[in-house]
């Protein structure tokens, strides 16, 4: 079954790159959301295999979206991988403790993105 990815990021270009990278190269089905709220709605309706969640977003930011996803029984079990530009080891650990499946740093290598995510999901 094709992996369905949900990318939640306010940057259009980033979503495009992810679409190209995961969709074309990674042969995944990619759905896009431009905000936390839209992401929540899509997560419920699309039941993605995993969610790629940007940390810094205006309005409902990454953490708020994460909590909301976790709080909702319909979406609570979907693995979430954070996308972030800040990479302090302590922050990464904190996120993992909170229940994130993994953390990916921006900018990522579009050619290896799919493998990296698969490795994270398999762990």
């Amino acid at each position: 079954m094709t992996t369905k990815a949900l990318i939640i990021d306010d940057e259009e270009d980033v979503r495009f790159v992810v679409q190209m990278s995961l969709g074309r190269l990674g042969r995944m089905n990619v759905v896009e959301a431009a905000s936390g709220e839209a992401g929540l709605a899509l997560a419920k309706s699309e039941h993605p295999t995993f969610i790629l969640l940007d940390m810094m977003m205006p309005g409902m930011d990454g953490m708020a979206t994460f909590r909301a996803l976790r709080a909702n029984p319909e979406t609570a079990s979907i693995p979430i991988v954070f996308l972030t530009a800040k990479a302090m080891a302590s922050e990464v650990r904190k996120l993992e403790t909170l229940g994130a499946k993994g953390v990916l740093l921006k900018p990522f290598d579009p050619l290896t993105l799919a493998q990296e995510i698969e490795a994270i999901l398999a762990a």
Partner: protein
């Protein structure tokens, strides 16, 4: 024989007798004359001035008798003093009291005795003026009167004698007292003056003159002498101060003023004195006083006063009750309040409300005797501005005061606060840049990477080249940004190092793995000497250092070259060497190699971290590990980079 009983007032009587200091003294003409007169008038061979002491009767005068005393029990006079007046025994042999008295039966064979008692003005019976005969007699009326009169005269003589003795003793005491006083004055170098206000005469002591450089005879013993010597500027004040004492307004005359020395110099003196004699209406008759040289003290005070006034720091004396007693001018200058305003209120009123509690606590500690060192608080100036002070204070419990000095540290605080603000801004900037720059770079790098991969369709060779160029440079940009941010964090110490015992071998192997593709590409071999050492390190960061050093080593090696990694223990550290036999580094550039943005070889972009920050970052990381890093190199021969970090006992 019957001995006389003791008079009722015997102790007082004996004391009165003693007060004449006459017992045991030599005969004197005045007493002998009176006795002789008694003997002539009464026609007796013997006349005595007899004083009855505790155990004897002692004769001040003894006419016609060789003895100077006889025991009291056998004395006739002891009977006489019991009654006073005239005591007569006409025939001792017929008187049962005296019939067998040794003085009657034997020498001097007394038969007749008549004694007129010597009664002191206070009524004490001291003894008698008595006349004695060897045959029984009776005195005529006129003889009786005369004897009594003569006895009174004896008392007069005794009184005179006593007064003279007392006066002499008093004079002696006075002389001794004056001598002692003079010794004190001489010892203290103070001058003494004694002013007779009725005549204007003043007696000056030699020390008074000496203090001013004169000899005593150079100073006229008049009050005008002293007045003329006073400094013109002080004259009016001195006159007023003297007048206050003369008129009785002050308890003591005390005046600090200048007097001219013989050599023309001015001498600061403390003059003190008191009116010692006034007439009935209270007018002063005599005044005496001293002069002390206070020039040293005044000089010291002046010197200290000058510093007190000059000081930029705030200097003050405050009471334990929380009010200022004395302030230096700096208070006015810095706070803008006048000294009067500052003294009028408890000083806590001027302290910033938020700092009042701790200031009160500090004052409490001072009260208990603890010194204050570097206590900081804020004051509010008259114009509302806030100033920071650093206080040092010392309590003087015996005076009930606190001595304190404060430095205005507002500027320093401002600098500190600005620095903190700047740091915060920098941190925020780093944070912002971190996100802001990386986001568009994600898109750039992503798109270029995808393009290059052919996912959007096949590219012409030229297009491929262009995309490759663009991608390469966007990656380089990313690395540069990473390095800058990384270095900034390292340098400001904000990177958390997760230092823990780490097997060195693992770090080395992983770093080799990381650059293996690059090394292979360059045709350079990596040689690792196995290490069993354990180091205290942040594995990721140490790995970063190794990757950096290895990348450089590979970059600078020729094709077919070898890079060697060796580790060895050095005392409590572990030393790791990365050695290459490549180009080497010019001696001139060697000492700068760990500096920021230094490029040993500019324009060479083979290495993925050609940012010039690589070694600076390595140094920062190693130093955060508490270690050291350095390099040896010879141009054309190669370089060895060496770092040391703390070692640990091996982890099992």
């Amino acid at each position: 024989m019957i001995s006389a009983a003791l008079p009722a007032n015997e102790p007082a009587r004996l004391a009165a007798l003693a007060s004449y200091s006459v017992l045991g003294t030599s005969p004197e003409a005045s007493f002998d004359d009176l006795a002789r007169l008694a003997s002539v008038i009464c026609e007796t061979p013997i006349a005595l001035v007899s004083l009855v002491d505790e155990t004897r009767q002692w004769f001040k005068s003894h006419i016609g008798l060789d003895a100077t005393e006889t025991p009291r029990p056998v004395s006739f006079c002891s009977h006489a003093i019991l009654e006073g007046g005239l005591f007569t025994v006409e025939d001792a042999l017929r008187d049962e009291r005296f019939a067998d008295n040794p003085l009657v039966v034997g020498d001097p064979h007394m038969r007749f005795y008549a004694g007129a008692v010597l009664t002191s003005p206070e009524g004490m019976n001291l003894g008698t003026l008595c006349v004695i005969d060897h045959r029984p007699r009776v005195l005529g009326d006129e003889q009786t009167v005369a004897l009594s009169a003569l006895a009174r005269q004896v008392v007069v003589q005794l009184e005179l004698r006593r007064q003279i003795a007392e006066r002499t003793a008093a004079e002696e005491r006075l002389r001794e007292s004056q001598a002692r006083l003079q010794r004190v004055f001489d010892g203290s170098n103070d001058g003494f003056w004694d002013w007779d206000l009725t005549t204007g005469q003043v007696e000056y002591s030699p020390s008074f003159a000496a203090m001013l450089g004169y000899t005593l005879d150079e100073l006229a013993p008049r009050i005008s002498t002293m007045e003329a010597l006073v400094h013109p500027d002080d004259r009016i004040r001195v006159r007023n101060e003297l007048a206050s004492q003369l008129e009785g307004q002050t308890d003591q005359y005390s005046s600090e003023h200048r007097m001219r020395r013989r050599d023309g110099e001015w001498l600061w003196l403390l003059a003190r004195g008191k009116v010692v004699e006034r007439d009935a209406s209270g007018l002063p008759l005599r005044m005496a006083g001293t002069h002390s040289d206070i020039s040293t003290r005044r000089r010291a005070e002046r010197e200290l006063d000058r510093f007190f006034d000059l000081s930029i720091d705030l200097l003050c004396i405050a009471g334990m009750d929380g009010t200022y007693r004395r302030l230096n001018p700096a208070f006015e200058t810095v706070l803008g309040y006048s000294t009067a305003e500052l003294i009028a209120r408890p000083f806590i009123d001027f302290v910033h409300p938020d700092d009042r509690a701790k200031t009160i606590a500090e004052l409490e500690a001072l009260r208990r005797g603890r010194k204050t060192i570097r206590f900081e608080n804020r004051y509010i100036c008259r114009n509302g501005a806030i100033k920071y002070f650093a206080w040092t204070a010392s309590p003087a419990p015996e005076e009930g005061t606190v001595y304190a000095a404060a430095r205005d540290i507002t500027d320093a605080k401002l600098v500190e606060e600005t620095r903190l603000e700047v740091d915060r801004l920098k941190r925020d900037f780093v944070s912002t840049v971190s996100h802001e720059l990386r986001t568009p770079l994600t898109s750039i790098r992503g798109s270029l990477g995808l393009l290059a991969s052919g996912v959007a369709g096949e590219l012409t060779p030229t297009a491929q080249q262009m995309v490759a160029v663009a991608e390469r440079n966007s990656v380089r940009l990313i690395h540069l940004i990473n390095d800058i941010l990384d270095f900034e964090k390292l340098e400001s110490g904000r990177v958390e190092m997760d230092l823990r015992p780490t097997p060195l071998q693992r770090v080395l192997e992983r770093s080799i793995e990381a650059i293996s593709a690059f090394a292979e590409q360059e045709g350079v071999r990596i040689e690792l000497q196995r290490s069993a050492a354990t180091v205290i390190a942040d594995e990721t960061r140490l790995g970063q250092v190794m990757v950096n050093l290895l990348s450089n080593a590979v970059k600078f090696s020729d094709r077919g070259g070898v890079v060697q990694i060796r580790a060895r223990p050095v005392r409590n550290q572990v030393e790791v060497c990365v050695a290459d036999r490549g180009r080497g580094i010019a001696a001139a550039k060697l000492h700068k190699i760990f500096e920021r943005f230094h490029q040993a070889d500019s324009g060479d972009s083979r290495v993925h971290s050609g940012t010039g920050l690589g070694l600076a970052i390595c140094k920062a990381i190693i130093e955060q590990h508490g270690g050291t890093i350095d390099v040896e190199s010879r141009e054309g021969e190669g370089s060895t980079f060496r770092f040391r970090v703390t070692g640990a006992r091996e982890v099992a």
